[in-house]
Amino acid sequence: MLDSEIHDLSDDADYAASLQQGSASVMLCNDSTKESSSASELDGAEIVYWKDNVAIHPTQFAISGRLKLIKQGSSLFMTWIPYKGHNADTGLSDKDRNLYTIRAVPFTEIRSIRRHTPALGWQYIIVVLSSGLAHPPLYFYSGGVKEFLATIKQHVLLVRSAEDANVFLVNDFQSTLQRTLSSLELPRAVPLAHGPSNISVDESTLNENEERNDNGVNNGSVSVPQFHRRPRHKAHDPARDLSIQVLEKFSLVTKFARETTSQLFRENQTNGFNTNERRTQIQTNLDPPNSSNVAGKISDENSAVPDSQEFDNLSLVWGKPREPPLDSKEWITFLDSEGRVTDSEAMRKRIFYGGLDHELRNEVWGLLLGYYTYDSTYAEREFLKSVKKSEYENIKNQWLSISPAQAKRFTKFRERKGLIEKDVVRTDRSISFYEGDDNPNVNVLRDILLTYSFYNFDLGYCQGMSDLLSPILFVMDDESEAFWCFVALMERLGPNFNRDQNGMHSQLFALSKLVELLDSSLHNYFKQRDCLNYFFCFRWILIQFKREFEYEKTMILWEVLWTHYPSEHLHLYVCVAVLKRYRNKIMGEEMDFDSLLKFINELSGHIDLDATLRDAEALSICAGEEGAARIPPGTPPSLPVDDGSVYIQHDDEVL
């Protein structure tokens, strides 16, 4: 009874909400109800497939288990239960075992299954949930992937993806010809057979492996129920299904956080405590943080995210696979006959996952940047373009009309002009668009920056702006249009260039908070090494990774960031993703501030954009609202807040 509370979710806000919503039919299961519920639910649960020796490889050690498909009523569930005791020599505990166990995932919540059948090595599958989260790869040591898929196909609609023959979409009702309908966001997880979408599979079926592998390793915990009791309900209600999906998504993550917390305890305490001790420690952890205890740093407020260490070991979560860039043919489907974007969210989502074909950028960047509104028509955009062109000319004339004599008495102007002139000749000159002596585009770059410094005289010009403008001018290939797109971008990124650097500091601060949330051990490492100022990420943030990727990749990254699709601050999650990717190296080599800065600098040109974006998406999903809450209001690229109290100083600030 007590132990089951370790996994219960009664303190989870979403869980509580879902309980309220479905209170009539949702019942928490505890030990006292176990037998009766088991007995009543035994009927109707049928194992339609089972496969032994299916393993995951979360660390250098594999964990073997049994994969099953269970049919109950008209619903199909998948379970994977690791063998008990088999993993004793791998240093994996019951907690690990619990952590990785897949308990009756209904197929209504599976988006796709990806099959890998390498010529050498084991076949494996990756199960991706509707939430975008994925289970770790399941390796079929004794084959059987084909049979597994065939069995699923008998019970659930399984369609091979048109884009990748190894991806099978579950319950994907849209034929490939109707793909454009995807912009309507049809729910992917429509319960196919109207069965209860949540877990109501017999516990005894789940516990089978445990009983089978009773070899004495369990030292007393054997009698303690290992399983996370889930609410059960019978009636079908789509609204509740939705809340259950949310619940499931959160419970997945919450469970990780808790398990991780106890894992941290395990690392910091002597080995071999039993279940009861673990419970005590977890309770301790809910007490106010104890500064001498690493695990105490992950206080209960952090319970919505996995620890990074765990996260890394598991390779647990992936974002949705990246897609090819949006092309003009598909782009048209997002517009009505007059050119309005009919569903801007669907459009942003599509661009988020694949970026844009280059020839579309000219048309779409202005929309993404907010220069043109989504509900504007072709004609309205043309009209705005001409109005804005003359407005631009007016501002430009302000400095064009300054005579040499006047300039002599106008130091600020001379300085700005001089600085800009020095910088435009040092901006992307290896790109053919700007290359060569007397390249007119370099002059346009100068004119726009100088005009901008009059448009926003207070901000003026600061190094880094030319890096941001360069791709915009290259894409827009029109002085006025490039200027206004740049203005729109600077609405959001302008604070990066404030003289007091407050925009940069608030982002670096937010980044440190996100790393603290998503990778507490890396955070602690940076803290120990006096690296919490995150200055080593300065260039990444100041110019949005412009110097880290080649030109084309930078443009993809920017349009992805500009969608603000999963988060307005995805760029910070991109930072976290890259840091996490190299965390073991950073900590393993005990990098100090200097070597870290050098290492990060030298990553330029070596970062895998697609993989990083997938990680960043997954991290932003994991962090969820907890992550958003750690980013101070008004942190760029959010539009500034009015009260002016944007920047929150933190203790570790070096300055």
Partner: protein, 211 residues
Amino acid sequence: MSYAYLFKYIIIGDTGVGKSCLLLQFTDKRFQPVHDLTIGVEFGARMITIDNKPIKLQIWDTAGQESFRSITRSYYRGAAGALLVYDITRRETFNHLASWLEDARQHANANMTIMLIGNKCDLAHRRAVSTEEGEQFAKEHGLIFMEASAKTAQNVEEAFIKTAGTIYKKIQDGVFDVSNESYGIKVGYGGIPGPSGGRDGPSAAGGSCCS
């Protein structure tokens, strides 16, 4: 590649004075007028030989714009040498030296060796700061001074090596406790300190390493 010592250098000075070009001339022996402006910091490294000992110079080339000063300041930590650069054709870059020096004094260790470089001396016809003024400023502030040209490579090699020589001498004189990396010096694998001193530990003779 093994070295006896590794020295951390930092190049500072106003934007556009030629910091990156000096570094490139020193590390790659070439002048590249068209290169991207520095955001944050860039790194360069080269081996030199002093007193028959291989010494690795790790050079931090910083962004010069005023707005970035708060970030640049964090780079001073643990630098053994600094090249403070101005442009002899732009008076204002000379006028700003005092504020750069103040930053350096405040954020670097007190024994950091500072070399003042008047760059672009190939552009003598556009000179706005005389050699004497440079010398005078250096003398007043206890800096080493040279005029150099990243374009023609004049004095570039000399500037970096002379700075290293001064640092090396400070080690020999026991000014630095080389086991303390905050001085910007690392002892390499081949770095058995010579018989003349500079050995590890606080007992180094003539130590005046309070900072």
